[in-house]
Amino acid sequence: MLREIRPAIVLLLVFTAITGLAYPLAMTGIAGAVFPAQAQGSLIEKDGKVLGSVLIGQEFKEDKYFHGRPSATLAPDPNDSTKTVSAPYNAANSGGSNLGPTSKALADRLKEDVDRLKAENPNAAVPADLVTTSASGLDPDISPEAAEFQVPRVAKARNMPEDQLKQLVASSTQGRWLGLLGESRVNVLALNLALDRASAK
């Protein structure tokens, strides 16, 4: 048994060096050279400033932008570090609501959001993804239905024809991969950037 001690120690150190340092560092070097944009986090820059990442959702509250899904991410309470406060789309602390199917807190939140959205657009059914929080709290996408649902509000705020916005939503919609995998979706940040460009014309 004693002669197993040397391999235990030496192999542990060797594999720490190979799998814990050489592998991730080499991959960082190669990935940075081959796919530099993705390796840095698929960042979008405008006028030299980072606007965000195309993969990470951000909070939109103004009427003139399409809104993403509700986010349940938290941040430490600035007044009491042992507590947390709601901080939607906190990309340094991802997470979901973890509310279950019989949660009263979830029922209350859903009812409030559905009522608010129904008041905003009484003519369409409220899409489920627009009132449910995502798993990461950073979901960059909404369903095409959720984007269309918001067209009247955005059209009014921007004084743009609804048809033009509907076209914009349609052209921003990404289908399933090879028509099979995943779901159709609209990247909210990309849609809003396209919207700003369209308004500027």
Binding site: E4, P7, I9, V10, L11, L12, V14, F15, T16, I18, T19, G20, Y23, P24, M27, A31, V34, Q38, A39, Q40, G41, S42, L43, K49, L51, G52, S53, L55, I56, G57, Q58, K61, Y89, A92, N93, S94, G95, G96, S97, N98, L99, G100, P101, T102, S103, L106, L110, V114, P127, A128, T132, T133, A135, S136, L138, W177, L180, L181, G182, E183
Partner: protein
């Protein structure tokens, strides 16, 4: 449920079955010590590793030595993780300025990673540095996976050998598994993941100014290299708190599909390794069929439950299934499928929050783990876990006809059956025992996030996941408390090693036996009858043990939900 949803599920199954044979062929060569197409590059490295560590690759070990070597290796692994977590403030690659991790959380995480559980009481981007991610976690992801596979191969050798005292050399098995199987796949896999959008950088967290002018700090890091092995090695500990739901850990439907494949692929291939080593590949396919039956049943229930949604959503006119805690790019089907895969294997990565699943949709992941994670299972752990159930099933079959049971040429006798039962009884002991404590001890009760039966399920799920070395969670439960850090660590430790030691004892006992040729009285173990028998034994064992607990949790919650109750 939709046709396109089922097509995604079928495509997944087809690809897994397609990969089983070629990968099984390759892995068999690796563990038999034969040449592979990578040998010209890797053989000199392998020989160098043996030379500096003083390993004689031709000297095989008795099962007890093999097990002790494995345990020694894990003591070292534990010390490294614990050490780097406690010291991370003074170690390099810490751009976010993370401070030392607390003693109990470091202890829990170290146990969690050496046992291949990867339970996340730590918060990823908010708790640990890049250095800990790489040297502590990425490194142990490789070694705990390699260990699991090595142990499974040792048990398979027990079946395939005759009248021998040894079951292989642990150091050689771990080294060859890491160098020839895990690392080459991970190198290619990492590049694929970066191409899909996963970051791989040592740079600072990004400070962005959003379109509406707010500040957003975006956590990045060497993510892709960690994600590759976390999936392939069925580890499941995420780089980020939200795990594979985070867009930086799983950015597209394609990355999601490949991640699901990588959870299952090595475990499925091991069934073929088993078949090849015992000299009849149909033995391996029969085991994969047992796994397949249970898997499809689980997928069907979870997909149906999640697509049906909850009565709360329906009352508000919200259609399209239960999207709370799910990502739009995956939708209902890819989230349901992922949840069943990650718990059938002992992966524990999640791309949707299981805590927000419907009562029945969330019950299937729970059952998958409670059955022992033998539906493909953790890399290696699933294979030796399944072989324990096969031994029981064969024993039951033997009782029915009054013959000494045999399996692939080995007589299954009292010692094997006792050891198999010893290993399997660990599950109810840790799961039900600790859950009972957790639901009465006040400090533990305070950790529940949901009230009513769902709170009970959160606790049950935590100990189930810990004991099964899964690592997924009903994550509303506040696990980062002294009570949960310590008790979950004990569940993970006992769940891993108290299963391994009896399994290795079986390996040693079988290897020493003579091989007997099949006769007309031998129960055929490659046909539908055998598959049905094993499925039956697994369900009866699991059902008798865990049904009362499930009745108190998800089943009563389902009834409450349909009655319109909220808590």
């Amino acid at each position: 449920m939709t046709v396109i949803g089922w097509l995604q599920i079928i495509l997944f199954c087809v690809v897994i079955v397609g990969l089983t044979k070629p990968l099984g062929w390759y892995m068999t060569r690796v563990f038999n010590g034969e040449k592979t197409f990578l040998s010209p590059v890797l053989r000199p490295i392998e020989a160098g590793i043996y030379w500096i560590s003083g390993v004689d690759e031709r000297r095989e070990q008795h099962w007890l030595t093999y097990t002790v070597a494995m345990l020694l290796f894990h003591v070292g692994g534990f010390l490294i993780i614990y050490g780097v977590m406690r010291l991370q403030a003074v170690l390099p690659f810490n751009p976010a300025g993370q401070t030392a991790v607390a003693e109990d959380l470091s202890f829990n995480t170290a146990i969690s990673f050496i046992t291949n559980t990867n339970w996340q009481n730590y918060g990823g981007e908010s708790t640990i540095s890049y250095f800990v991610q790489m040297v502590g976690l990425t490194h142990q992801n490789f070694l705990s996976a390699a260990t699991g596979i090595a142990l499974a191969v040792a048990l398979i050798r027990g079946f395939s050998r005759a009248s021998m005292r040894t079951v292989g050399n642990f150091w050689v098995d771990v080294t060859r598994c890491t160098l020839y199987v895990l690392l080459p796949i991970c190198v290619i896999y990492t590049l694929f993941l970066v191409w899909q959008g996963i970051p791989q950088t040592l740079g600072d967290y990004v400070e962005a100014t959003t379109l509406e002018g707010a500040k957003q700090t975006i956590a990045v890091g060497p993510v892709a290299s960690q994600v590759a092995i976390k999936m392939l090695g069925t580890n499941g500990g995420g780089f980020f708190n939200a795990n594979a739901a985070h867009p930086f850990e799983n950015p597209t439907a394609l990355s999601n599909f490949v991640q699901m494949l990588s959870i299952f692929v090595l475990g499925a291939a091991l069934t073929n390794v088993f078949g090849r080593m015992v000299g009849n590949q149909r033995q391996g396919w029969a085991i994969l069929a047992v796994m397949g039956v249970l898997f499809i049943a689980g997928v069907a229930v979870t997909y149906w439950a999640e697509a049906s949604g909850t009565s709360m959503l329906q009352a508000l006119g919200l259609t399209g299934g239960n999207m709370e805690g799910k990502e739009v790019r995956f939708g209902i089907v890819a989230s349901s499928l992922f949840a069943v895969i990650t718990t059938a294997a002992s992966c524990g990565a999640v791309n949707a929050m299981h805590d927000s699943f419907t009562a029945l949709g969330g019950m299937i992941p729970l059952i998958n783990i409670e059955l022992g994670e033998i539906i493909v299972g953790g890399v290696g752990a699933g294979m030796y876990g399944m072989l324990l159930f096969v031994i029981l099933a064969i024993f039951v079959a033997g009782l029915m006809v009054g013959r000494t049971p045999e399996y692939v040429g080995k007589k299954i006798e009292a010692r094997e059956v006792k050891m198999a039962m010893l290993a399997i009884l660990v599950l109810p002991l840790m799961i039900l025992g600790w859950t009972a404590v957790g639901v009465v001890y006040p400090a533990a009760v305070a950790s529940m996030a949901n009230a009513g039966p769902h709170g009970f399920t959160e606790v049950l799920y935590a100990y189930t996941s810990g004991t099964g070395n899964n690592g997924s969670a009903f994550a509303g439960l506040t696990g980062n408390t002294l009570f949960y850090n310590v008790t979950l660590a004990s569940a993970m430790f006992v769940g891993r090693f108290f299963m391994i030691v009896p399994a290795m004892a079986i390996a040693g006992s079988l290897a020493a036996k003579k091989s007997i040729p099949p006769s007309v009285g031998t129960f055929p173990t490659t046909g539908g009858l055998f598959v049905g028998l094993v499925v039956g034994v697994i369900l009866i064992m699991g059902g008798l043990t865990f049904f009362p607990a499930l009745a108190l949790g998800p089943i009563v919650e389902h009834l409450a939900m349909n009655a319109g109750n909220v808590f």
